[in-house]
């Protein structure tokens, strides 16, 4: 492994962990102002370093950095970080990074552990359709992940209101209405991305002459079914609140199970 890549492989998750610690401190602090600047700087640095890492992989191996599960985790974590920064701007508060950044920390740490940088893939496997399929699929997983994080925050706030606990978490977590709506938005985005990813994946398989098995698509359909049902029940039947939140969490549980199964079964995406 190139020494620079080796360094980045360790540095990126470490910087994310440090940023997560800063977000935790910000969340627990009474005076957020004292920690806000350092937290923002750390997040900016983490995202920049992460971007450099992805570009370095692409430059080193002359391919898109999506050849393995580890690189998929890395790319997914990168998308999560960007979504986290967007969410911060939308919600106008930095105290939620303790929740929304955690998946990125896990993703980069997992990527570092499993990383082995295989050489360039076959040209056909690096076709634009393939790359688009991978990116949209990852974007869908990331969107569902963000929706699940927001759903968990909803549950935390819901329980605090039910139990009349007015602690730091109660003060810092946004309103149930905001969490419900934004979680729904990311669920919808995830469904759209997953459908696009599935269609382009199917198209690529047909063009590349690969023989994919239908059984490997079952987890995908299960995930899609749960999340699409959530979207439909919200838009058509007007589902709100805990009911809606639970469907998101069930969908994410199915997604996690499907991803774990897929990861354990094969090393590469189509290995």
């Amino acid at each position: 492994m190139d020494p620079f890549l080796k360094f980045l492989n360790i540095a990126v998750p470490v910087v994310y962990m440090g940023t997560f610690v800063l977000y935790s401190r910000l969340f627990m602090a009474e005076d957020e102002q004292a920690y806000r600047v350092s937290t923002r700087l750390s997040m900016g640095f983490a995202l920049a370093l992460h971007t450099v890492y992805l570009l370095a992989i692409a430059a080193q191996f002359d391919r898109c950095p999506l050849a393995t599960r580890a690189e998929g985790l890395l790319f997914g974590a990168w998308l999560l970080s960007i979504i986290h920064v967007i969410n911060e701007r939308l919600a106008r508060q930095e105290s939620l990074g303790i929740f929304t950044l955690l998946p990125a920390v896990v993703g980069t740490s997992g990527a570092a552990y499993f990383q082995d940088f295989p050489a360039a893939r076959a040209v056909t496997e690096q076709s634009p359709q393939f790359v688009f399929h991978i990116v949209t699929s990852l974007a869908s997983y990331v969107s569902f992940c963000v929706a699940a994080v927001l759903a968990l925050m909803y549950v935390v706030q819901h329980r605090r209101l039910k139990r009349k606990q007015f602690d730091v978490a109660f003060r810092k977590i946004p309103s149930l209405e905001l969490l419900d709506n934004v979680a729904a938005a990311w669920t919808l985005a995830g469904c759209v991305a997953l459908v696009l990813g599935a269609l382009t994946g199917w198209w690529w398989v047909q063009r590349a002459g690969h023989t994919g098995s239908v059984s490997s698509l079952v987890p995908l359909f299960l995930v899609l079914a749960v999340f699409v049902a959530s979207v439909i029940m919200r838009t058509v039947a007007g589902w709100r609140g805990i009911r809606h939140i639970v469907t998101i969490l069930i969908g994410f549980a199915v997604l996690l199970a499907a991803s774990l199964l897929s990861f354990l079964k094969s090393h590469g995406f189509y290995g």
């Binding site: 009474e30 005076d31 102002q33 004292a34 706030q157 209101l161 039910k162 009349k164 007015f166 109660f170 003060r171 946004p174 309103s175 149930l176 209405e177 905001l178 709506n181 039947a237 007007g238 589902w239 709100r240 609140g241 805990i242 009911r243 809606h244």
Partner: protein
């Protein structure tokens, strides 16, 4: 603002009454509105009892901050002027007022602006009131060098306290606590519908705060339509009979119940039926009656959040505790800024000295330039003059900075002594205007 330092040293004096030292009746009589502030300020400045004046008057306090000649700080003169204006005998004002001088006056002013001296710790109105009183005094022409600096500092302190501490955060009244909780559950209240059960004062008060927080749709449920009319007009609300609550409850996002019914007016089953029609939309129930209007079991339903008056008091109590914790940080900010103002005032004492020294050496340099530049053309002369100015500035920078530090440390006399001994400054080295 013109510097007034050449008119001699001054003292800061503050005389006032507040909610701790006087009752509301006396404060009403001592109220200083805009016209009275103008009259009082001109009265005191024209009679020479004060050089600068700012009058602050709110529901909970009336204070007069003045800059007077050093050694001539006489609160009695300010109290007499106030007495003439208000008709309150001077003895009565004296009995109920407080007097602060110098650093204590500055500290009190900063604490007032930071809402540390308010009836409700951290209340936000006082900051604007301090600002308004300062601006009114500027318009009256009774603010000059000192109070301009001090009141600007007070405004900065108020801003810092608000932005760096949590002293103004969290509701400290039952009604505001209800609004806070509504926002936590429902987010933007402009799209919510508020149901009010009963037409009494408590319900109206809570509804009023929700209305101020942008809630716009109200439904009043009452046993009779007539008695709810006034409330309906106030909030442009629909009025329904209490019997119709089953049909309309599902439209409400917030329900405030404040009747004097001896039995519950809203049951768990009614709430459950409404929730089903709302497809899980959140419902915030506020029960501020005794005995309770809403069955406690209604709070166990999935998307329902039931708060009684005791729960709201708990919210208020916790917020009050947090504000008190934040007050310690706010006091530190106040002390820091009082020290800065004190250093600034001490530094003023050496300003004439610094000016003298700079002028003495500028004159010396100019004389030498005059001699050396004979026969030079205009451009060369200009270069020589520029060189001499820069040289004098660089040579004096160290000594002048040190003199300034001496002044800020309260050692103005030492600075004067050393300036005389080392630089030969004397009374003959008068500054030229």
């Amino acid at each position: 603002m013109s510097e007034s330092t050449q008119h001699g040293p001054v003292e800061i004096l503050l005389v006032g009454v507040n909610h701790l030292t006087s009752d509301v009746a006396l404060r009403d009589r001592l109220l200083i509105d805009a016209d009275k502030a103008r009259t009082l300020s001109h009265d005191l400045t024209r009679s020479g009892h004060a050089r600068e004046i700012v009058a602050l008057s709110t529901c909970h306090r009336a204070e007069i901050t003045a800059v007077v000649e050093a050694g001539q700080a006489r609160p009695a003169e300010i109290i007499e002027a106030w007495s003439r204006l208000s008709g309150v005998p001077p003895a009565e004002i004296t009995e109920h007022s407080y007097v602060y001088l110098e650093e204590a006056a500055v500290q009190h002013l900063f604490r007032v602006g930071a809402s540390l001296d308010s009836l409700v710790l951290g209340e936000s109105q006082i900051f604007g009131q301090v600002k308004d009183s300062y601006e009114a005094a500027i318009a009256n022409g009774t603010v000059s060098f000192y109070l301009d600096h001090i009141f600007r500092a007070a405004i900065r302190v108020g801003k810092r306290v608000r932005s760096e501490t949590r002293i103004s955060e969290g509701a400290v009244s039952i009604s505001y606590a209800a609004v806070e909780l509504a926002k936590k559950i429902l987010g933007d209240l402009s799209r919510t519908t508020v149901g009010i059960i009963g037409s009494g004062e408590m319900g109206a008060l809570a509804a009023g705060h929700l209305h101020k927080a942008n809630a716009r749709r109200f439904i009043i449920f009452n046993r009779s339509l007539g008695s709810a009319e006034q409330l309906a007009t106030q909030f442009q609300a629909e009025v329904c009979l209490l019997d119709q609550i089953d049909d309309e409850l599902h439209r409400c996002d917030v329900v405030i119940s404040a009747t004097d019914s001896p039995t519950p007016v809203l049951t768990r089953d009614q709430v459950h039926r409404a929730l089903r029609r709302r497809h899980g939309g959140r419902l915030f129930l506020i029960d501020i009656s005794a005995p309770r209007d809403i069955e406690p079991a209604a709070g166990d339903l999935a998307n329902t959040y039931l708060f009684t008056i005791d729960d709201l008091r708990q919210v208020v109590h916790e917020n009050e505790t947090k504000r008190r914790d934040a007050a310690a940080m706010a006091e530190a900010i106040v002390q820091q800024n009082v020290a800065t103002v004190t250093a600034w005032r001490q530094g003023l004492a050496v300003r004439p000295l610094i000016k003298k020294l700079r002028e003495k050496y500028s004159r010396l340099a100019a004389a030498e330039v005059e001699t050396a530049s004979r026969g030079m053309d205009a451009a060369e002369r200009e270069r020589l003059e520029s060189f001499s100015r820069k040289l004098v500035g660089k040579l004096l920078h160290g000594p002048l900075s040190r003199m300034k530090e001496f002044g800020e440390e309260g050692n103005g006399h030492a600075a004067g002594y050393y300036a005389n001994e080392i630089f030969g400054l004397s009374d003959n080295d008068d500054s030229r205007d």
